[in-house]
Symmetry: C2
Subunit: 298 residues, 2 copies
């Protein structure tokens, strides 16, 4: 483990906030009031504003790259109990789940990423328990899983659209907590990110999608239907955040009105959690001296 | 289609070789002599040497990013006959399949990538025809598929290690050509890349893996066993290149002794093929004016 500190040191001190971002964005336990959390804030951001963001995010790349490779190496070498990481993204339409994947998760080697986008369940998925498809998508040892939407849809859209009775969705919070606890115990570090966007900002983004033919494909008329139910969704999010905010799978609330902050913040959260794993390179599973001799002779 | 030329123009003219790289690296039809193709060459490289490579490769990002998004948009919008792209990577151990994925494919949005690494077939895969797992992994419309190894293993390792009789593998070249033809006709642009590394360079890379504990995980004693059969593998590659070099799925031979050239070259090949698709943004599938009014009122 000693080698780790040396090789994962931060290149630019500017990328290191004074307090870990994980602490700043971690949702405190207890009652949640989303309206009291500023969607345009930039907690822990080390730059002056938007202009610095590409360079600050880019500056994370070499370190993220090495940390990810170390995680991957542990998975590949079938080290017993090799860990994995899961970045779970939730948020209202236009909050930027896709943008985070493109700009933050895109910083790491695609070989180390296991991305799953959860859509409306397929007929096959519908035959199973709602956690069936989630369990199958959990990251394998050494991998960084990304969930674009997740099990939380089953207490969000399912609740707001009344797709199942109250008694049914109401039991899911505890079930999700149990599920996440088991995943954490099996070695998955879970980083749940709620991308917190304002009602006004959503309107601007929907408007922008309709203003450019290059963005039409991102627009879905159903997003406006969901927007009409904004208070019901905020209430459902509030419950999901409050009832599923555990130590083994905490929620982080990412102010998401500023895309540049949001992308930097998720990359930085990933960095801090990877550092927290404190991984060494795996030991050789062969006789190094003997193999050196074989290669030399070859 | 008119909008395309404007928005995909190259940012840095230095990234544009005088002749398309696809033409320079395309394996000519007819007999193949791998020993006559320089593994350390840098055809079409617009820089002076290694020092320029990170900037030249990085300079491709904005354009690759837009081209990939356009492809993805066409897939997402379920445009009839939406295309896909397949980058197929083959090469001896240490030739850099992983490096290409990390450094070249890593330039595009992970949401648009469908990566499959073909290992020794699983018991499940073994129950099926050797093309079964390949067919399942073909990229969906709008996606860039990456094959890390491929159907060619079934005429390479299978042939050299005599895992099936000659009569069996000998029929596979035509079968693979048919398979690729169908995939191409269904809308997949196939870019087959042979990463051409020298016997001497492989030795250096294996030696380097044994010199650093951070690289032990990349080392596999079996790689030296395969190295001992180098001539048999070169012969098998020669046949695969010669007999499966078709217009619908041509081979590109990438000199791979210089990692920086190899990574730039594959990114550049991808760029040229994406430009070749000449894609427009998909039409709106809704009434734009009506939706603008809905959003404005929301």
């Amino acid at each position: 483990m000693a080698a780790k500190k040396k090789s994962t040191k931060t290149k630019a001190s500017a990328t290191k906030p004074t307090e870990p971002l994980s602490a700043l964005l971690r949702l405190p336990s207890g009652p949640v009031d989303l309206s009291a959390i500023d969607t345009a804030a930039t907690p822990g951001y080390p730059g002056a504003g938007k202009a610095d963001a590409p360079a600050l995010t880019e500056a994370l790349t070499p370190e993220l790259s090495e940390l990810q490779e170390r995680l991957y190496a542990n998975g590949r070498s079938e080290v017993e109990g090799a860990p994995s990481v899961l970045v779970l993204l939730q948020g209202m339409d236009t909050s930027g789940k896709g943008g985070v994947i493109r700009h933050a998760m895109g910083l790491v080697d695609p070989q180390g990423i296991q991305l799953t986008s959860f859509k409306v369940p397929t007929p096959e998925e519908r035959k199973h328990h709602y956690l069936w498809r989630i369990r199958r998508a959990l990251p394998k040892p050494g991998m960084i899983g990304i969930f674009d939407r997740s099990q939380y849809e089953d207490v969000l859209v399912v609740r707001v659209e009344q797709l199942v009775p109250v008694s049914e969705w109401n039991g899911r919070y505890d079930e999700i907590n149990d599920f996440e606890k088991k995943a954490a115990e099996a070695g998955t570090t879970i980083i749940k990110c709620f991308l917190h966007v304002s009602f006004a900002e959503q309107k601007e983004r929907l408007t922008a999608r309709l203003a450019s033919p290059a963005k039409y494909w991102k627009y879905n008329p159903r997003d406006v239907d969901a927007r009409a139910k904004w208070p019901a969704y905020q209430e459902a999010y509030t419950d999901a955040l409050e009832r599923c905010n555990t130590d083994h799978a905490p929620w982080f609330v990412i102010p998401a009105d500023r895309k540049w902050y949001r992308n930097w913040a998720v990359a930085q959260l990933l960095r801090e959690h990877l550092i927290g794993l404190d991984l060494s390179w795996p030991e050789a599973t062969f006789d190094v001296a003997a193999e050196k001799a074989r290669v030399a002779k070859s």
